[in-house]
């Protein structure tokens, strides 16, 4: 088991190296001159040249790359021009917001997609199957920012059953003590029910928008794998042995069908992390997606660099975790390696 984990870790290293290089190249290509920004209004060209030297931006690309690596190793991701704060601190503070949103969206998506996929597989070819296909495909066809805007308009502004899209918590509720950074967990841990409800309500619309977007791959995968399992020999045996259909589906088929779905989670996460950026923009969610978009628009390169790097590293770690979990769940993988 440990050997499996280590071997996967080793294969991830070239990916990380590639990520670091690509991120560096991308952000050096970003247009914009932070030196002019820092030098301030009406600075003379010499003043700007001085600041550029101070920031190390006048060195050659390879030299800058070495400096960049050195900074990374000490955890220095630079500073943001628009908020004036070190990027590493900001990402660390804002990551829980994005993570909480993504996880809630994922749980929601899984909770809807898997039953839907199972249902579609069991009732294959009927109108339920078609309906399931249409609903999930429709979900993934809508641009996630559009769904978000629509929801905010309909549920907050018109119907007034959702709270204002003003962030993680209503302005007049104070955030719970910072244990995990996840408001839902922290508020429960400190017994603060009011904050828990407040946080949950604020999460509702953005999480639903994101969940709708990721239903399709999950449902489709579940349906496909369920179909494959239902057609297999051991299920036929179970049926032939006279077991109730419900037992067959849930006790035997489902567990085996879930396995490929775990591997799809990797792709779903990629979707979600991308959708995160758009949803956060619409709902003023103080996560790293919004942070990155604001930085991108103002050509503030340090946060963009930090964001891309963080997301990529996170994603690689997540995929490793999924592989690991899959290895735990499916003994065949363990035995093979």
């Amino acid at each position: 088991m440990l050997k499996l984990l280590l071997s996967r870790l080793v294969t991830a290293i070239p990916s990380i190296i590639g990520v670091v290089i690509v991120t560096f190249m991308l952000t050096r290509l970003l247009p914009g001159d932070p030196a002019a920004y820092f030098a301030g209004l009406a600075a003379s060209p010499q003043a700007i040249a001085e600041i550029r030297a101070k920031l190390g931006l006048d060195k050659s690309l390879p030299e800058q790359f070495v400096a960049y690596i050195g900074d990374l190793l000490t955890g220095n991701l630079g500073s943001s021009l628009s908020t004036g704060q070190p990027v590493a601190t900001e990402i660390a503070t804002r990551l829980p917001a994005s993570a909480e949103l993504t996880l809630v969206a994922l749980i929601l998506a899984v909770g809807i997609a898997i039953p839907l996929g199972v249902l579609a597989a069991v009732k294959q070819g009927t109108w339920i199957d078609h309906l399931c296909r249409i609903v999930t495909t429709a979900g993934v066809s809508l641009p996630v920012f559009f769904t978000g805007l629509l929801f905010a308009y309909v549920f907050y502004y018109v119907l007034q059953i959702a709270p204002a899209p003003s962030g993680r918590l209503d302005v007049f509720l104070s955030p719970p003590s910072d244990i995990t950074g996840f408001y839902l967990i922290d508020s429960l841990l400190t017994g603060n029910l009011e904050t828990f409800w407040g946080a949950l309500k604020q999460l509702a619309l953005p999480a639903i928008s994101m969940a709708i977007f990721s239903l399709a791959p999950l449902a489709r995968m579940t349906r496909g794998s369920m179909l494959a399992v239902l057609g297999s020999d051991f299920i036929r045996t179970a049926r032939a042995s006279g077991l109730a259909p419900r037992t067959v589906v849930f006790a035997y088929a489902f567990r085996n069908a879930v396995l490929p779905v775990i591997t799809t989670l990797g792709m779903v996460f990629s979707f979600l992390l991308g959708a995160n950026v758009l949803v956060e923009t619409v709902f003023a969610w103080p996560g790293i997606g919004l942070y990155a978009v604001n930085a991108l628009i103002t050509s503030d390169y340090a946060p963009v660099q930090g964001f891309v790097l963080t997301m990529a590293v996170l994603y690689v770690a997540l995929n490793l975790l999924i592989d690991f979990v899959y290895g735990l769940v499916d003994p065949r993988v363990r035995l093979d390696s």
Binding site: P34, Q85, Y157
Partner: protein, 530 residues
């Protein structure tokens, strides 16, 4: 519209409002919730690259020696009065031809309890003129340039020696930059490489003003609480203020309309024009002094070095369309005046240009470009909501006289850098000066010293002579100089004035006390709720 209010009315019955406990309802009434688009990037106005929201924080949490009085504007709204200087930290001052001596109040204390004395004032002024960047540049605009000018006479007396006779020196002491900071506290956090404690001040407070920052979450919100011991002015009415960042303008508007937020700047002109007619909110629009949105042409690049080409462009802009479709009437037109001549000692003022395509075409032919030419029109993406539609309309209109323009969007942080390079042929930009004097505007925008704001790279010795004369004279000589440079500006038209923007603010009906300030930020000290 009707259906929406119907739905709202019926939905209210079934709506679940936020869970308010008694205590929270109370807190809500004592707190003013302001929503805005951009967060402050520093707690220190002298900090490198400090942005406009940072000025707001500084203005409300620090004192200055003097401040400006108030008057009512044409609409009956509270407006700062640039002709009246009033006491803040200084109770009294004596001005001679060579210096100004300020007597400081004796009961003022910083937020940490230390008394405010003249040595703090000197340290703060020295800092402002030494750290470079915008603060130093702004101090210099009023001839406040050397630490030697600032003298501590005794603990409660401070003197500023003049470098030259500059009518802007005293007003410059009331602008946001020369704030009074807690020098002892800052010195504790200074280092050999950072003698002015720039690093520490970025995230911390060495202030003594009417409000204290209780909590700052960078990028999200600033929470202020009133300094109950504030002595330098009448105690503010609002105890607690929250400034929350909501990036989406649509959401800010929704919050205001739903009553979930108390006040907002930063809404698109269309929303403001609609909210003005809404009965639920108070919307106040004040013309921004000494400011304009303009189309600038780089006179060092062909074909804009030809004055006839520039005039042709001035006659070809779709002025009224811009006023209607881009600004929804929320601006003061600077076109369509009787002629291209001086109309009085005020700026900005209307020129004589209007949309006249025939005239524009004739001028293009005279200039030698009967079939037109190609060029690029650049704008600041940071102000996209106005600039995008504006440039599209301009592009369309210029096409009618043969000028084919490509639109170039420049991201916010690059805009300054690009302006500095001074190689964009045609831009649309905004400029406003804090000190409401025409020569102040012209000094930065038309003078041959070629500051970054002189985006057209316009250098004309005749113009310089007039501007310099205006800066240092008064009376009939002054008026003649102003007349001279305004006439020249309209004739030469290196930049075409389009409109004077309004500073629009929307607030709940129970919020009062809003005052327009030249720095265009909110002064919390005059506000009241309920």
């Amino acid at each position: 519209m009707k259906r929406r209010s119907f739905i709202k009315a019926t939905a209210v019955a079934t709506a679940t409002p936020a869970i308010w406990s008694e205590a929270k309802a109370q807190a809500r009434n004592e707190t003013l919730l302001i929503v805005g688009e951009s967060p402050p990037n520093s707690m220190d106005i002298h900090g490198v690259g400090a942005n406009r929201p940072a000025y707001e924080v500084s203005w409300n949490t620090h004192d200055r020696l003097i401040t400006y009085g108030a008057k009512k504007d044409a609409n009956g709204n509270d407006h700062y009065d640039y002709t009246k200087l009033e006491p803040e930290l200084a109770t009294d001052w004596n001005v001679t031809p060579t210096s100004a001596t300020f007597k400081l109040r004796r009961d003022a204390k910083f937020h940490d309890g230390t008394p405010i004395t003249a040595k703090d004032v000197k340290w703060s002024f020295d800092r402002a003129v030494t750290v470079g960047g915008f603060p130093t540049f702004q101090m210099a605009a009023g001839s406040l340039q050397k630490p030697e000018q600032f003298v501590v006479v005794d603990d409660y007396t401070f003197r500023v020696d003049f470098l030259r006779a500059d009518k802007l020196t005293l007003p410059d002491i009331g602008v946001p930059v020369p704030v009074i900071m807690n020098s002892e506290l800052c010195k504790k956090h200074a280092t050999a490489t950072d003698p002015w404690a720039m690093d520490w001040c970025k995230n911390n407070h060495a202030s003594g003003g009417a409000y204290k920052v209780e909590r700052w979450q960078p990028g999200q919100e600033v929470v202020y609480v009133r300094n109950d011991d504030w002595k330098a002015g009448p105690l503010p009415k609002v105890k607690r203020i929250i400034m929350r960042i909501i990036p989406s303008a649509g959401n800010r508007r929704a919050l205001l309309e739903r009553g979930d937020a108390d006040l907002s700047f930063d809404l698109p002109p269309k929303d403001f024009s609609e909210l003005k007619s809404s009965a639920k909110l108070t919307v106040i629009g004040t013309p921004i002094e000494n400011a304009m949105i303009y189309l600038g042409m780089n006179v060092t690049q062909k074909p804009f070095d030809n004055v006839k080409v520039r005039q042709a462009v001035a006659w070809a802009l779709p002025y009224q369309q811009i006023m209607d479709a881009v600004m929804f009437g929320q601006a003061i037109p600077l076109f369509g005046g009787a002629d291209n001549k001086f109309k009085g000692i005020y700026w900005p003022q209307k020129d004589g240009y209007a949309t006249d395509i025939a005239k524009a075409k004739a001028l293009m032919a005279e200039a030698g470009y009967p079939t037109g030419f190609e060029t690029t029109l650049s704008f600041d993406l940071g102000l996209a909501s106005t600039n995008e539609p504006l440039t599209v309309l301009v592009q369309e209109s210029l096409a009618q006289i043969g000028i084919k323009t490509t639109i170039n969007k420049v991201p916010g942080a690059n805009w300054r850098g690009e302006l500095l390079k001074k190689n964009m042929p045609m831009i649309t930009n905004a400029f406003g000066g804090w000190l409401n004097y025409p020569e102040y505007f012209f000094y930065w925008c038309y003078h041959g010293q070629n500051a970054v704001f002189n985006t057209m790279s316009y250098q004309n010795p005749a113009m310089d002579a007039l501007i310099d004369k205006a800066r240092f004279t008064t009376g009939p000589e002054y008026e003649a100089a102003v007349k001279g440079f305004i006439d020249m500006a309209f004739e030469e038209v290196p930049r075409v004035p389009i409109f004077q923007p309004l500073l629009n603010v929307a607030m709940q009906k129970n919020v009062t006390g809003y005052r327009y300030w030249f720095h265009r930020q909110l002064d919390y000290r005059q506000l009241a709720k309920g």
